[in-house]
């Protein structure tokens, strides 16, 4: 069973144009670790080299910010959707 990683438009070029990717159920951390192995250019847009989610990015599991759940240890169950959401900031 798999879950879905949902990408914002700005990151799709780093995923070969795909708006969504299948990810293996587990934790947010394991999903991003797997991404680092298969699509490192995409993964490092989301996390820095120390594994921290970049400052102006939020990850939502369904309708919840993972920071309000268990952070990177949040369980990603089969059938759920993990969203990468950039901050609406800048000028």
């Amino acid at each position: 069973m798999t879950a879905t990683l949902v990408l914002p438009a700005a990151l799709r070029s780093a995923a070969g144009g795909a708006p969504e990717l299948e990810i293996v159920e587990g934790t947010v951390r394991s999903a991003l670790d797997n991404l680092a192995a298969t699509m490192p250019l995409l993964e490092r847009r989301v996390r820095d080299e120390q594994g921290q989610v970049r400052l102006h990015i939020r990850l939502y599991l369904g309708s919840s910010d993972i920071d309000d759940l268990e952070g990177l240890d949040t369980e990603v169950a089969a059938g759920t959707r993990l969203y990468v959401i950039p901050a609406v900031s800048g000028g």
Binding site: A10, L11, P40, L41, R44, R45, D48, E49, Q50, Q52, R54, L55, H56, I57, P86, A87, S89, G90
Partner: protein, 365 residues
């Protein structure tokens, strides 16, 4: 006839301008890497085809390094992060400020100066880089502070013939140099003033806010520096520095560029003060010395008339290495100017760009 390529890094992407031959009109290419801040641009002209670099960072997606082997028509980014701190440092890359190819004696070697204060070295032409641990673990590190732009290592001056000698500048840590390939580093700031300190502490061993250092390949022992207040010259590879400020309207500024054929000819863009970062005289003027800093002349032919309020940042001025030498600079008003005759006359190459952060140029036959 040589073709000139000018790489322009801006706050929202990079552009390449081309002049197909001397005297021809400039052709400005499309904006690449949109929404990326391109503080660091570099050109490694040692190979048959120059390799262009654009250090791009995004507040959202982080910093990275692109390279182009077709003069900026296409840009490539390696799968693995080109520049990344090792896990054990606990540090994360904020920005790549400087990309600098080494001399001919170190083929394939390219340096990256980054924020937080660190130097990285590539031995594969700038595709993958490793942390220079000798500098990162320097005992002074804990006392280096950030400049207004950040805790950046913004200048790398590799020795042209001795691959073991490299000089760097940090804001605000000052100048450091190595003679053993980066294993050990010593501060090289004697004579450079930290004007903001109490009077008895204005010449510390390190901690100065050096904005840019440049040298000429044929006289690598001679260095020129634009400081956070202060313009300096060293004739002994940084062992000591003397001021070369007589005749300048201000000693504050960012860039320092050396003419590619004339080791005594240097260029700066003076600003009024750190608290007033506007052109020192209120006009858009480059200052040139043709005698190693003994005297200075304002260059304004072809530059905007009247009041001008945009600054030129530390890497936003360069030469193209040609003969006659082209001199280029970009301003925070999004304009780029170039001189085909070493500064005697300028022309506008581009306007209405995002503010210009960096420029690099090369002539190719």
């Amino acid at each position: 006839m040589p073709q000139t390529t000018l790489l322009i890094g801006t706050r929202k992407g990079a552009l390449v301008a081309r002049r197909p031959r001397a005297g021809a009109a400039w052709e400005l290419g499309p904006l690449e890497l949109p929404m990326s801040e391109v503080y660091g641009t570099g050109i490694d002209a040692r190979g048959a085809t120059p390799r262009l670099f654009a250090a791009a960072d995004s507040p959202h997606w982080g910093p990275t390094l692109f390279h182009s082997d077709d003069m900026g028509r296409t840009w490539n980014e390696p799968g693995e992060a080109p520049v990344a701190f090792p896990k054990e440092t606990g540090a994360s890359l904020v920005r790549i400020w400087q990309i600098q190819a080494a001399g001919a004696s170190a083929p394939g070697v390219v340096y990256a100066g980054v924020e937080p204060h660190a130097l990285f070295r590539s031995e594969d032409g700038g595709i993958t880089f490793s942390l220079v641990e000798g500098l990162y673990n320097h005992p002074h590190r804990g006392e280096w502070g950030p400049g207004n732009g950040g805790a950046c290592l913004h200048t790398v001056v590799p020795h042209p013939t001795d691959p073991d000698r490299v000089l760097v500048a940090l804001s605000a840590g000052g100048v450091y140099r190595t003679g053993d390939g980066g294993a050990t580093w010593e501060a090289a700031n004697r004579g450079i003033q930290s004007y903001w300190m109490p009077e008895d502490q204005r010449f510390p061993e390190f901690g100065q806010c050096v904005h840019k250092v440049a040298s000429h390949p044929s006289f690598p022992e001679r260095l020129f520096a634009q400081n956070h207040f202060g313009v300096y010259r060293s004739d002994n590879y940084g062992s000591s520095w003397e001021t070369i400020e007589s005749g300048l309207p201000s000693t504050f500024g960012f860039p320092m560029v050396v003419h590619p054929q004339e080791p005594e000819t240097i260029y700066i863009f003076p600003l009024k003060a750190d608290s007033h970062r506007f052109p020192a005289t209120g006009r858009c003027e480059v200052y040139r010395s043709q005698d190693g800093g003994k005297s200075w002349t304002a260059l304004r032919s072809g530059l905007p008339e009247g009041e001008y309020r945009a600054a030129v940042l530390r890497d936003a001025m360069c030469t193209d290495g040609g003969d006659p030498a082209g001199i280029y600079f970009g301003t925070r008003a999004g304009e780029v100017y170039g001189s085909p005759d070493a500064g005697d006359h300028f022309e506008k190459i581009a306007e209405h760009l995002p503010d210009v952060l960096s420029v690099r140029a090369v002539q190719v036959s």
